[in-house]
Amino acid sequence: MTDTAPLPQMDAPGAAPDATASHWKLMWLRFCQHKLALFSLLIVGLIYLVALLAEFLAPFPPQEANARHVYHPPQGLHFFVNDDNGFRFQPHVTAFRMERDPVSLRTSYVEDEGQIIPVAFFGRSTPYRLWGVIPMDRQLIAPVEAGQRFFIMGTDRLGRDMLSRLIHGTRVSMTLGLAGVGISLVLGLLLGGLSGYYGGRIDWVIQRLIEYILSLPTIPLWMALAAAMPRNWPPTLQYFTITCIVSLVGWTELARVVRGRFLAMRDESFVVAARLDGCSQRRVIFRHMLPSLASHIIASVTLAVPLMIIAETSLSFLGLGLQPPAISWGVLLQEAQNIRSITQAPWLFIPGALVVVAVLSLNFIGDGLRDAADPYSK
């Protein structure tokens, strides 16, 4: 690519962008061409929606243990019943009965044919507060008879409903990723910007710092940092600390992107023009340089979120991150740590599947955004 290359034309038929299409519009059009990224955007949107409405979506309180339903297998949700009263719409799950093997005394659950537990959409539930503020008494799925229990994703070792725990864990894990990126972004912009804008000695020091951090193995360091966190801290403080720890490494990549862009842009004509016009340094940086960086930054941020999610999940899984009663995907996966429980209850893997889906989708979105960040190329 040379400076003299003519600006290529956008040739999206139908969407033919006119001369006034904004940068963001062009970016969006380009992003839409990446079908996989678009689909991933939908998935991530749904996951964040689940995180947002956790109290409404989770059928039961996530900490509620049922000693009589330990390792209960998942019950499929059915919509129609066909009995003596004919075929009709009635959402329900099939009831399970606990049986004990007379010889080995092992308990197992068998489907109780004909016995159903009717459920209702938007049914009445025990009153709760959405986001701890708005009082509500309806949930997406609730048992018709109060007090009945159903487990769409089974239960864990203490008989806690996996679905409810998963939904609450989603809130913690997904927001932790975002918060971590927030901190990384501030650090990355600040240090990357300083490095790229001023160059020289500051640049040298910051670059060496980044190289240093990148050359250290992250998990052992995170482990050491997380192990230093007292176990008896309240969950919110733990959450904050873990966020800081995982973002400690995340900022380096952002700083590199920002620096590279700043270096490239410092001598662009519009920046020189702004400087010659007598704009203050602040105005040059915030009014002229940052806006044209924004799209690249968004792409890098999206690619950083999955790293944070994996980091948090790994740490919590090892027992160094969030501690139960807190719920996150990593905490949930702790239940699947030993071979006995996963062969007995493979549904404990479901949080893992969700981690993969979330990370994969975020990666695809990041990829799409990176391609779209420069809508004028190719």
């Binding site: 050359s215 250290l216 992250t218 998990i219 482990m223 192990a227 160094l320 071979i339 893992g352």
Partner: protein
């Protein structure tokens, strides 16, 4: 050449110094020192804790000295080969970490070799047959490999090994070899047990490397020199191996610098799950018990490993590319 290597080695010294300071700060971070955690573990075991004994411990290990003195005592000891004393195990740290670090190094380098052996041909194939079915399949697998955290992959593999083959894949040795002296049979046994950890560890980095190789080679394939060579009638296989692949290998070798930190990280977490007798599980225990000489030694050696890895990759790069050698 020799001058370059010497210069590079010298440059690594301040780096290692920084690493040691970082590790020292990290192990000093938890509130209290190991005397307090020793006292706590004693009282948890129901034993009587004598305050005088604790004070004596502090005095004997110089825990009351300023941090800077403690640091130099620690690092000085390490330079002499004395890694300190593990409280949890009641034995010198160097006795505990020897074989475990050896196995970690073995596992990590075996994974590097695996990664290269798989990623190189696949990356070349994907680049030469761009947008073919094979390319899409490898790219897709690559994305999934990148998205699955190591520990999850380890869990899933463990699950399938038990469900399908009825086999417990944890550990690195079969029971009969666990405490046996090194022999040929033990090596073979180790080799068999290494397969799953290597697969677990190598998947993500193989995926990453494959994408690097594919992108590098694609950059080269449309260069005029390739067209010239082809026009002169060079066979396709010879042409590829002679020129573009050699050049595309360059960034490939330099990425070992970032490959090692990731592999070491992954190795720790994987071996904790598969309970491999490597550094991981012991490091975790040491961190949780604040057995700080032990955790410090592990952290230091693991970080050093990546520093050495970067060093090796730099030297390889010089060997591979005459342009770097002579500029």
């Amino acid at each position: 050449m020799l001058a370059f290597i010497v210069r590079r080695l010298l440059a690594a010294i301040p780096f290692m110094f920084l690493v040691s300071i970082t590790v020292f700060i990290l192990i000093q971070l938890p509130p209290g020192d190991f005397a307090t955690s020793y006292a706590a573990s004693l009282s948890a075991a129901g034993e009587y804790v004598d305050q005088n004994t604790i004070a004596e411990l502090r005095a004997r290990y110089g825990l009351n000295d300023p941090l800077i003195v403690q640091y130099f005592r620690w690092i000085g000891g390490i330079l002499m080969g004395d890694f300190g004393y593990s409280f949890q195990w009641n034995s010198p740290v160097s006795e505990l970490i020897g074989e475990r670090m050896g196995l970690t190094v073995l596992l990590t380098f075996a994974t590097v070799i695996f990664t290269w052996a798989v990623a190189l041909p696949l990356g070349i194939y994907a680049a030469v047959h761009k947008y073919s079915i094979g390319d899409y399949i490898f790219t897709f697998i690559g994305f999934i490999g990148l998205a699955i955290p190591n520990f999850l992959l380890a869990l899933v593999m463990m699950y399938f090994a038990v469900v399908w083959f009825g086999q417990d894949v944890s550990g690195l040795f079969s029971p009969e070899f666990r405490n046996a002296p090194w022999s040929w049979a033990r090596m073979v046994d180790l080799g068999k047990h290494l397969i799953i950890p290597i697969l677990v560890l190598g998947t993500a980095s193989t995926a990453g490397m494959m994408r690097v190789m594919r992108a590098n080679l694609l950059d080269q394939l449309h260069q005029p020199y390739v067209v010239t060579a082809r026009a002169k009638g060079l066979s396709e296989a010879r042409l590829l191996t002679r020129y573009p692949i050699r050049i595309a290998l360059n960034p490939f070798v330099s990425t070992i610098g970032w490959l090692l930190p990731t592999l070491v990280s992954g190795e720790i977490i994987t071996s904790i799950i598969l309970s491999l007798p490597t550094a991981g599980p012991l490091l975790l225990q040491a961190l949780l018990a604040q057995d700080y000489y032990l955790s410090g030694a592990f952290l230091l050696l693991l970080c050093m490993m990546t520093v050495v890895g970067t060093l090796i990759s730099d030297i390889l790069l010089v060997l591979l590319d005459p342009r770097i050698r002579y500029s």
